[in-house]
Amino acid sequence: MVSEPISVIKVRNVLLVSMPADPDDSTVAALQDRTLDAMSKHDVRGLVLDLSKVEILDSYFARTVAETAQMVGLMGGETIIAGMRPSVAITATELGVTLGKTRTAMTVENALDLAGQAERKVKARR
């Protein structure tokens, strides 16, 4: 099976990363590498992780998402998870996934709005 490519796009001041429906382990591993790589290359405030296509969540994928969010945090960025499906959310609670301070949004659009609000607050403080 050819693994579907993950798309990593820079939108305004964040990275938008979309996951395919049923990612295999190598795709999941690539998610972390590509994201962290892009974080270091682009001057962005954070990451919007689009999970709206994802239908199945396994423990490896869940752990990688949580870890990546932590790593992005260490690199000074905020992660917003967008579009998680109900069935995936139930699996996530069953797996005991903890997202810490990671924020969530129902759609990518909402996530971009959230990211924009955070940015405006920072600017206002200056």
């Binding site: 998680m84 499906r85 109900p86 959310a89 996530a92 609670t93 997202l99 129902m106 909402n110």
Partner: protein, 287 residues
């Protein structure tokens, strides 16, 4: 019945039966051919079709020349034939005199219909088995009506178990009443997540005013639901936390600090509005 009465009855019957045997047979034939909703046919002792009527054609779709001499298993679903239902039914009807059954039957075009079937053993004056009479009635409509009723019942039950009401654009209210067990909280989680995504609502008010007590397990389930709602990008406000519930939760050591909780539904609604950046107040200019 007295002798006179019997005579009168016989006399009356003779008047009714004033037709010649042929003419009465003809009337019977007309009845059999025209009776609606029923398919009437006969089988030989081994179950091969020996008489076919227009009513049978109407119900099952076969023409007489297609079906005469065929085994009656062609009217049954394949899996029923394989487990020997046809043979069992013939044997039963022969032993008991008749057999009634309600189950699926198959038309010529392969479609199924829900049928009530009566199989009657036909014996001559000496009691020798001559064959079987088979009367099939199409009960699809009745079956569908029953199914609709059952579905309505299920919908009402589901609504009563986990009622989800949209109270504002983007705000769902779940007024829970009665004890929460594991099965119900599981349903609550699934239905709430489903409704939140369906209606694209970012806030859910989970009202537990009508929940008499909470134990550790229920609290754990509620925490999981709150988490799952957060994963899909929405927020739960737990309302109706009465003093006794607050005391129980603290004594049980349940940590709900991650969740927004309020004592009244009204206070919860205010939280919901502020989460959505909406301001509600009297329009007297200083709201």
């Amino acid at each position: 019945m007295s002798v006179e009465a019997q005579t009168i009855v016989r006399g009356q019957r003779d008047v009714v039966m004033g037709l010649t045997p042929d003419a009465s047979m003809e009337l019977l034939q007309i009845l059999v051919d025209n009776i609606k909703e029923y398919a009437i046919l006969t089988l030989d002792t081994r179950g091969y079709v020996t008489t076919w009527t227009p009513t049978a054609k109407r119900l099952k779709g076969y023409d007489a020349d297609e079906v005469m001499g065929k085994h009656f298993s062609i009217f049954y679903p394949k899996e029923e034939v394989e487990n020997g239902k046809c043979e069992r039914e013939l044997e039963m009807a022969a032993r008991e005199g008749r057999l009634e059954d309600e189950s699926w039957r198959v038309r010529k075009d392969g479609t199924r219909f829900w049928a009530s079937v009566t199989l009657t053993a036909l014996r001559d004056a000496k009691g020798n088995l001559k064959g079987f009479g088979k009367i099939t009635r199409d009960l699809s409509e009745k079956k569908q009506a029953e199914e609709r009723l059952r579905q309505q019942g299920r919908d009402i039950m589901e609504m009563a178990t986990v009622p989800v009401v949209q109270v504002w654009e983007g705000i769902l209210l779940v007024p829970l009443i009665g004890m929460l067990d594991s099965a119900r909280t599981q349903q609550l989680m699934e239905r709430l997540l489903q409704k939140l995504t369906e209606t694209a609502s970012p806030v859910a008010l989970l009202d537990i005013t009508g929940v008499p007590t909470i134990d550790t397990q229920t609290a754990q389930h509620l925490i999981e639901t709150i988490k799952a709602v957060r994963y899909i990008g929405a927020e739960v406000v737990l309302t109706g936390v009465r003093p006794v519930i607050a005391q129980t939760l603290v004594h049980l050591g349940v940590d709900l600090s991650g969740a927004t909780t309020r004592s009244s539904l009204a206070a919860g609604l205010r939280v919901a509005f502020s989460l959505m950046n909406m301001h509600v107040g009297a329009s007297n200019g200083n709201a």
